[in-house]
Assembly symmetry: none
Homo-oligomer: 205 residues x 4
């Protein structure tokens, strides 16, 4: 009376196919956009049977999420150091501005933008994927802000009663929203301003 929906045997999995599927998925999303990217299209481009995709992933979004995670790991490995680091020069404002400027650059990189937007969009409407996206991609990066802000609290540059997990949203979320929803253009000047407003508040002192 054993289950018949054969659990795939990971040890026999074809590494070759997996790589080809990642590449195809990322390429198609970049070239024709997420909505026009199809499982059949990925399979065909990767020279792979459809079943091979359905065996290992549950949906188009799932494929793309893993492909995107893999892309990040590849990039980090290539760069040859820890995937996530955050500058700590002692000057909090400068460090934040630097990281946000780098984020702006990333947002403008087409290779990053297409899959990133696609996953974000899917996550808005598909809570499960959304939470996975946050847990695996977003939160680890936000945690770096938390760490840096705690270090700033130790140095007395941030009030000790401030919750770093909330504070970081003051500069990260506005940028994210402008980028995701096209509410307004993004620029270095803008992110610098965000840091200034957030650190010092907008009320007169």
């Amino acid at each position: 009376m054993s289950a018949n929906q054969s659990v795939p045997d990971v040890t026999r999995r074809s590494e070759r196919s997996r790589r080809a599927i990642y590449d195809a998925a990322l390429a198609l999303v970049a070239e024709i956009g997420y909505p026009k990217t199809t499982i059949e299209g990925i399979a065909s481009r990767a020279g792979v049977g459809k079943q091979t995709i359905y065996r290992w992933w549950s949906s188009k979004a799932d494929v793309l999420l893993e492909a995107f995670l893999d892309l990040g790991e590849q990039a980090a490995e290539a760069a040859g150091q820890a995937p996530y680091t955050f500058p700590d020069t002692g000057d909090l404002a400068a460090d934040l501005k630097q990281v946000l400027r780098a984020t702006v650059d990333e947002m403008r990189d087409p290779a990053f933008e297409a899959p990133s937007r696609a996953l974000a969009a899917e996550g808005v409407v598909n809570e499960e994927l959304g939470r996975e996206f946050v847990a695996k991609l977003l939160e680890p990066q936000l945690q770096l802000y938390v760490d840096r802000l705690r270090s700033a609290q130790d140095a007395g540059d941030v009030r000790p009663d401030v919750d770093p997990r909330i504070a970081l949203e003051l500069f990260v979320s506005p940028l994210a929203q402008r980028w995701l929803q096209y509410t307004a253009p993004i620029s270095y000047e803008y992110t610098d301003t965000l840091v200034d407003y957030a650190l010092n508040g907008i009320a007169p002192r």
Copy 2:
């Protein structure tokens, strides 16, 4: 030298069908979700031919956007008169907290949440719709924050050099991101904290 792709005659448009289509679209999105909502489903539920939808709208997202806009107008008309208002008691922090708490309530209202998320998600991946969504829905509401902040500047409660269009993002965007992307839970306490941080900054005084 005129275009030949016959523009439909707006004066002959059936008001009855338009209403039925709005109702069906909103109901279906709420009941079965945006991805499972189809043009055929809307047409069938509205008792309308598919062509009647394609004649007046260009896509499922377009239908939903107009339906949602109409819903807002209907609601405003039914309730008071002015569709958009913002409290101005003289106490900026209190006013902001009140509005944000109302926004939290709205975000938890299923009738609002389903179409709203769907449109936001679609806008992330479809720039044209995204910009339309912002222009017709988001920006008018953000403008109310701008006005209130300017009034606060006149009262000396906000530094005169602060750009209100950027400042408002300090409390609006974090909430938006938590809701859209499920990065963290939302609550009155959270929005209150955002207002406090944003108004006073997080650096020690």
Copy 3:
């Protein structure tokens, strides 16, 4: 309690529209073929409202049948004499061969062929139209053969016990079938042979 399906008033009918509809129908059938000819297409080409067609005809086939009949009348009128005539030189074989050769010519005239085939095809599958087609178009022409054969019987060139209505089919039907069903090519030589076989039989004397 009178019927509400207003019987159209023939006296007020627009002659202009009728002509335009006939012309459009015949032109479209010749240009794009009967199956691709649509009521909307005819209306549009004739510069006429769809309702004007539906008011006076019951179907596409009906329009075409009348258009074709009208075409015949026009042609006869233009030729300036009786629409149907049949030579009677006293030489039955020669007369029949001449008429059949003329029929072959007609079958090869594109202006005649397209609508003629279309009506015949429709008549095969739509008994009512088929009978109307026969009664109004085919039978009057076959009657001329009957008359000529009777004249031949009077002259002693055809056995008196022969039924002319059946006899005529011996040369008319084979030609018709070859043309309608593409069973074999048609030519003067072929029709001449048919006349010879039919008149003299195929058994040795």
Copy 4:
């Protein structure tokens, strides 16, 4: 330099689906008539996806043609062995009359009439299908007449200079036309008369 429009793999074809499609097509044509028979209707009745029809046939007419051919093969297989046979008792007139009477019976059999008329009608207006219809269905049967007439020529019952392919039309085509175009009723007496006229001619001896 090979074509890229993926030719389906015939070896993987579902025999089950093909049979179901044939049955559904023939049943629908018999029940509701050819014009009201739709691809969707056939697919639905056969419990088959539309694509499965489009994969193997190019049109409704094509499906019906193959279904009809298959029906003939099935019937022949079920009955005797040889699909096409023709009596040869030595009495040409009797043999022809027998076969034509059988044809009259067939023409009155609803199971045969509906698809047969539909295909004939389609063939009138669609030359390609018409020629296929003739080549696969009509001509093989006409060839039997040719053979029988040649045998009669050997026996001296038909003049040696007569072309059998033409001669057979003297009795076959009139019957075909009366049936197809409703030009006149058909009966045993009528077909008997045709044979008499054709064999002996209509001119006095």
